[in-house]
Amino acid sequence: MLRTRVAPALLGALMVLTVLGALVLAAGKPLGESFQIILQGATGYPRSEAFGPLDAWDAVLHDLTLLVLTGLAVAVALQAGLFNIGAAGQLLVGALAAAWVGTQTGIPAPVHLPLALAAGAFAGALWAFPPAWLKVRRGAHEVISTIMFNYIALYLTHWLVTERLKDPAGDAPQTAPIAEVARLPMLHEAFLQASWGLAIAVLVALGLWLALYRTVWGYETRATGANRDAADAAGAPTARRMTEAMLLSGALAGLAGAIEVCGVQYRFFEGFPAEYGFDGIAVALLAGNHPALTLVSAYLMSALRSGAYHLHAETGAPKEIAVVVQAVLILYVAAVYLRKRRIEG
């Protein structure tokens, strides 16, 4: 336990701090003060005049909501042995679908929000279906097809938001704002971006934990991911479980997009932040694809992002420091924890 779990984790943390420190120094910023600012951005402490705990938590909890969902999306597919690189595209179509439903009139107020969120999840699942089908029926590698569908989503949503669903009230490439009743309330009145979507994300994580580790469905799904041939031989409907996991994965990514629309942006627009879909890969890998641990790894990633962003705001150091650290972390986790585990091609 100490040698196989604790030591690599400590070494990983040490390496992250080293890389972070090196990037801060290379940017010409003082080390101690910078770490303090990063900590401020991540937790709100030590408190500064301009930036209190509420500001920090607003940023961290917002990112946490999205990263939990996209992390779970990648994790549930990986549990079934599928690498969903397409969360970004699924997030985009989910966001646009939610914005479309959100701007419709004539929907009864109490169901408008649930309907918008459901539309996002449904669109995401729909977007994940062709890659799932191609994998199960045609043996096409899901990594390739989900990458293709990312770009198809990017151009399709761009076309729709500039040509078909554009807010007629202006020239900007964006949809009209969604109805007031289709919006998620903020977690705290002082917050600007952290909505009750977080509660949904946490509930989904707990539900998925139960589903994957306490049901026959989950057992069969994990068995499929661990060794498809063995699961087949044991009578598990592996093609079905893979398809379901992929659809669920797309639904979660789509839900992330819908929550970003209903909770923060209140519309879809050109350049919608789809990169959270890619960040979900790091979150899932760091959590070993376990839904409960996804909450922890998504928090760490959110804190890192918020810290780096705050450092950028305070000192002008490039905020991409967070991206580099994330890349190094993925490589480290993959090299130490994921050796020899192959994703079936």
């Binding site: 990594v143 490589l331 993959a334 994921l338 192959r342 994703i343 091609g345």
Partner: protein, 304 residues
């Protein structure tokens, strides 16, 4: 329509296709020895940055080119070590390399080049000019092309010859199809894989260098803009064959050129949505994956 499909359009198509051909052939060299390479995008991006920085600091295009190749090699080395020594999943390593390149190139760009721009210095480097071929360069397609484009047009044939006529080519085939058997036959599998992955780094680095040293003259954030993934699509669409991959890359380059030409220009009075043209390479690849265009068979030992 007659005013659109002219020689200039095809010339632009070949120019647009150049980085795609280079990167797709790079991907081919790596995947044919069984190493999945979705890190092409990152290598192009980092190569572009290194080319800009090298040329900017030294004043020499060739230093920029060398820097791009070296950086491509370095990223490829990470991929090779991760997949061959640490036995990391190929996809995970590729994802990490793409992220690393995106983060590092943007970070360094803002640390080194942006301050120069803010100080009023130019960040534009000269570009490789049109090459002269003793009169041949006046042919419509070869007009105003840099040597990198010509290199990209010749390379598929060179690669095809190497893959089919040399011992190295036979070994590549053996490793890509059954590495176990190849090992038993005495083929140095690991060395073949290192070579393939490193060569893919060189070519992807060159693709990045083209973007700066031949196309635009300067680096911009995330300027690879998905070309690594289009190259991957071209590789699959071309069925892992040098001529197929290069042909697909040229086809995809044509869509890009057409899209640039159609910006704001109606055809028969109808404004074609350029987004749908940009989507075509990906859509066609999906159709190819569906098996509608015949059987797609990757090297059977891919990813192991």
């Amino acid at each position: 329509m007659g005013g659109i499909l002219d020689a200039e359009l095809f010339g632009t198509a070949i120019r647009q296709a150049t980085p795609l051909i280079l990167a797709a052939l790079g991907g081919l060299l790596s995947e044919r020895v069984g190493v999945v390479n979705i890190g092409l995008e990152g290598k192009i991006l980092m190569g572009a940055f290194a080319a800009a920085l090298g040329a900017l600091l030294s004043g020499s295009l060739w230093v920029g080119l060398a820097a791009a190749v070296l950086v491509g090699l370095a990223l490829a080395l990470i991929h090779a070590v991760a997949t061959q020594e640490w036995r990391t999943d190929h996809i995970v390593s590729g994802v990490a390399i793409n992220l690393l390149a995106l983060g590092l190139s943007t970070y360094l760009f803002r640390q080194i080049i942006v301050p120069r721009e803010e100080a009023g210095e130019s960040s534009v480097v000269p570009t490789f000019g049109a090459v002269s071929l003793g009169g041949l360069e006046n042919l419509p397609l070869l007009k105003d092309q840099s040597w990198l484009t010509l290199f990209a047009l010749v390379l598929p044939f060179v690669l095809l010859a190497l893959l089919t006529r040399t011992r190295w080519g036979v070994r590549v085939y053996a490793v890509g199809n059954d590495s176990q058997k190849a090992r038993m036959m005495g083929v140095p599998v690991k060395r073949m894989r290192y070579l393939g992955v490193l060569l893919s780094g060189v070519l992807a680095g060159l693709a990045g260098a083209f973007l700066v040293l031949a196309a635009t003259g300067q680096f911009r954030e995330n300027m690879s803009a998905g070309r690594g993934f289009i190259a991957l699509a071209a590789l699959i669409f071309g069925r892992w064959h040098p001529l197929g991959a290069a042909g697909a890359a040229i086809g995809f380059g044509f869509f890009e050129a057409l899209q640039m030409r159609l910006q704001g220009q109606p055809v028969f009075g109808v404004q074609l949505p350029t987004d749908l043209l940009l989507m075509l390479p990906y859509l066609l690849t999906v159709i190819a994956l569906m098996g509608l265009l015949g059987k797609m068979k990757p090297p059977s030992d891919l990813g192991n």
